[in-house]
């Protein structure tokens, strides 16, 4: 596994020898790594006693796959990539082109139209009941992550503050809606902004002491706060219902005009003489979350062109320089924290209204990690990149739930869902290795004199606080 670049002068037999050597090494390594975990299966027998059996076949597959994979990478794939790079360099083609296609320039408009048309298309193709899966599992699920990631983007992508506890604000929003609608019977449309405000308020309370911290310390304190909020929700049983959570949360209504409660006299389906189905509620929710996403995007884009947004980005680039220019960095960080938290709160109250049930299970660290991963994989600061990352990562793993046909390939015990997070994790690693700056690495300037030129990712910094 030597690190030396493959030179063109190297003859192919030498290359092959090297590839074979490294392939064998990788196989041996895989044998060592997988022998215990793959080669041996532990399970409890009828007496509930832990016993084991061997899986040599599976182990062999793992080892051979590693060896062959490494052989192919060293012997064929890497030389090929190097050659192409060399050819590009010779031809003078820059590795990053800033040429924009029609699709890229009008991406937002095309995407918006596609999203608005998405539910009716799903209904047309699959029927009302059949659309449920597409609208809910794919549409709403992905859009919630888009919204959360866009919210976190304000904190991480723009202001450069590494927040590993973002899910806390999502939880604050969700529980605010669940508790306040339960206790005071307030409607979704009143509680939505309220949940956002409460989350922002928490953002400020948590942010105030920690924002003096720098870099990884900030990351770890935000992680701690995220966990504290979850643990409190889990243990404060009288108020939050503990691990059981809160169920029977009121549904959102169409601004109080139509309800989606089955028994209500102004039920949406009844009012329009449609057959009863939960699909209408989901379609309605789809448009609600779409609207919320658009709001997030609009506010973010607008703020970037305002002094506060520029100050965020300047903060990410150099905090000391910011202070030398008269910018109150603590206030600036707090606003970023509060606004990011507010979007998280909106998403949280939406989540509660959609599920009708909240419990601490939904707000574990893994969620924060997934949201952060979407922001970084998308390209910090880039709304489009983040949306693409959410579609690929969240939609991609959702897709695995649907892959029933894999059962025909791997046998009936094969549950693709089990591999969902495994593949998600692998995808995170692979995308980062190939695109360390995310799908969209460049940033759009917020003002220009003559022409708007994207700033290459190699100039932007990732923040230190």
């Amino acid at each position: 596994m030597a690190n030396s670049p493959v030179t063109t002068s190297e003859d192919s037999s030498g290359l092959m020898a090297k590839a074979i050597k490294e392939g064998l090494f990788a196989g041996l390594l895989a044998l060592g790594m997988f022998l215990l975990y793959v080669g041996i299966e532990t399970y409890q027998n009828i007496d509930n006693k832990l016993v084991w059996r061997t899986r040599w076949g599976l182990l062999a597959i793992f080892v051979i796959a590693s060896a062959v994979g490494r052989f192919l990478v060293v012997g064929f794939i890497r030389p090929h990539i190097d050659q192409r790079k060399l050819a590009n360099a010779k031809a003078g083609i820059p590795e990053v082109s800033d040429h924009k296609s029609f699709f890229q320039t009008h991406f937002l408009k095309i995407a918006l139209v596609a999203l608005v048309l998405y539910p009716p298309m799903a209904v047309m193709l699959n029927g009302v009941q059949g659309s449920l899966k597409f609208v809910d599992n794919f549409g709403i699920q992905i859009l919630i992550y888009v919204m959360l990631a866009w919210g976190l983007n304000v904190v991480v992508g723009l202001a450069g503050l590494l927040d590993l506890g973002y899910v806390a604000f999502y939880a604050v929003g969700a529980y605010s809606y669940a508790l306040l609608s339960d206790q005071f019977g307030l409607s979704f449309w009143i509680l939505l902004p309220l949940a956002g405000i409460l989350a922002a308020f928490w953002g400020i309370i948590l942010g105030f002491p920690v924002l003096r911290l720098r870099g990884d310390y900030l990351a770890i304190v935000t992680l701690a706060f995220g966990e504290i909020i979850r643990l409190v929700l889990m243990n404060w049983t009288e108020v939050t219902g503990g691990t059981a959570g809160i169920s029977g949360i009121a549904k959102a209504s169409v601004f109080g005009i139509y309800s989606f409660d089955v028994g209500a006299s102004n039920n949406f389906a009844k009012a329009f003489g449609l057959p009863m189905s939960s699909a209408y509620y989901k379609i309605f929710l789809f448009y609600v979350i779409l609207g919320l996403c658009m709001l997030t995007a609009y506010v973010t884009m607008k703020l970037r062109r305002m002094p506060i947004g520029r100050a965020w980005e300047a903060l990410r680039e150099d905090e000391i320089a910011c202070r030398s220019l008269g910018i109150d960095t603590v206030k600036t960080k707090l606003t970023a924290f509060a606004i990011g938290a507010m979007f998280g709160g909106f998403a949280g109250s939406f989540f509660a209204a959609r599920q009708g049930f909240v419990s601490p299970e939904s707000f574990v660290f893994l969620e924060s990690a997934v949201i952060l991963a979407v922001v970084v994989l998308g390209g910090m600061g880039s709304l489009i990149g983040i949306a693409v990352a959410a579609i690929v990562m969240v939609g991609g793993t959702e897709l695995l739930r649907e892959m029933e046909f894999l059962k025909h390939v791997f046998g009936d015990d094969f549950t693709p869902e089990l591999y969902r997070m495994l593949i998600f994790g692998l995808a995170m690693v692979v995308v980062m290795l190939f695109k360390p700056r995310g799908f969209v690495g460049s940033r759009e300037p917020t003002a220009f004199l003559k022409e708007r030129k994207a700033v290459s990712g190699s100039f932007t910094k990732e923040g230190h606080g």
Binding site: R323, D328, R443, L449, E451, K453
Partner: protein
């Protein structure tokens, strides 16, 4: 105001009195007093480790001095005790701007954006602290255009207008120095503090810098305090020179006066102390004759 006021006349913009800064056991600055006159270019020189940057950091609030008083007197008569203000307030309220020895630009923002960030406080107010601006109300739009106009003027002055839309990190070293000065000027300061502005510049860039600094002084009336190693720059453009060695002032006066001061020569040439005394005696003898 306190006792220092009587020594300060209308012409003094910055009055540093009995400034001391201690880092653990190290006395980086020891009882330093000097004044910066309004409309002057004042240079702070001294050998490596003399404490020049520390003085700067005290003036601009990045360090809290152990002792002493730093008074900033604005044109309108407002006075600020800088050692009591936090770093960003020194720029925001007292109107003292600075640059850094290792250039600190926002590399990922464009040149123009760098200058807009510098006008943050003005624009924040105009945007009604974001709220009005977000709703499209108030004077934000007009002010934002005015800010771009201000930036354009500074870009022209700093000869960077062609690079306005490029990332600041992409500029050459000399251009980055000029941009940092232009950015500091966009905060609308009355006193501009420059930490080694000519360091690493080639002769052509150095000349351009002189023109820029002279222009700033003559056209905007901004006073300049600069740290410099390059004696040619110091002698050419400064009206007043303060020399530091080991955290203490050893000389203070016009460039000509300083140039001929034996203590300064000794400090720069690194002569032994007894030799300095010799030189001083010789001078005294010479003047006595």
């Amino acid at each position: 105001m306190t006792s220092g006021t009587q020594t300060m006349n209308q012409d003094t913009i910055l009055n540093v009195e009995h400034l001391s800064m201690r880092f653990g056991g190290l006395m980086a600055i020891n009882d330093l007093s000097f004044q910066v006159k309004r409309g002057d270019i004042t240079a702070l020189i001294g050998p490596n480790g003399a404490g020049k940057t520390t003085v700067f950091n005290c003036i601009t609030g990045f360090y809290k001095p152990t002792m002493g008083m730093i008074t900033m007197s604005q044109r309108g008569g407002d006075k600020f005790l800088l050692e009591r203000l936090s770093d960003f307030d020194i720029t925001k309220q007292a109107k003292v701007a600075r640059t850094f020895q290792n250039i600190r630009l926002f590399g990922g923002l464009t040149v123009l954006e760098n200058l807009l960030v510098a006008q943050h406080n003005k624009l924040m107010k105009a945007s009604g602290y974001t709220v009005m601006g977000l709703l499209g109300l108030g004077s934000y739009k007009r002010e934002a255009e005015a800010a771009i106009e201000t930036a354009r003027q500074w870009l022209e002055r700093a000869d960077l207008i062609d690079r306005a839309d490029d990332p600041a990190g992409d500029l050459s070293y000399g251009a980055q120095r000029r941009l940092e000065i232009a950015r500091a000027m966009c905060t609308g300061p009355e006193l501009l503090c420059l930490d080694e502005p000519a360091a690493g510049l080639n002769p052509k860039e150095s000349l351009a810098l002189n023109v820029l600094l002279n222009g700033i002084r003559d056209e905007t009336g901004t006073s300049i305090l600069l740290i410099e190693h390059d004696m040619s720059v110091v002698m050419e453009i400064s009206d007043h020179v303060v020399v530091l060695e080991y955290g203490q002032k050893i000389c203070d006066g016009t460039p000509d006066h300083v140039k001929n001061d034996p203590k300064v020569i000794a400090a720069y040439l690194g002569v032994e102390d007894d030799e300095v005394e010799e030189i001083i005696h010789e001078e005294l003898d010479g003047s006595a004759q």
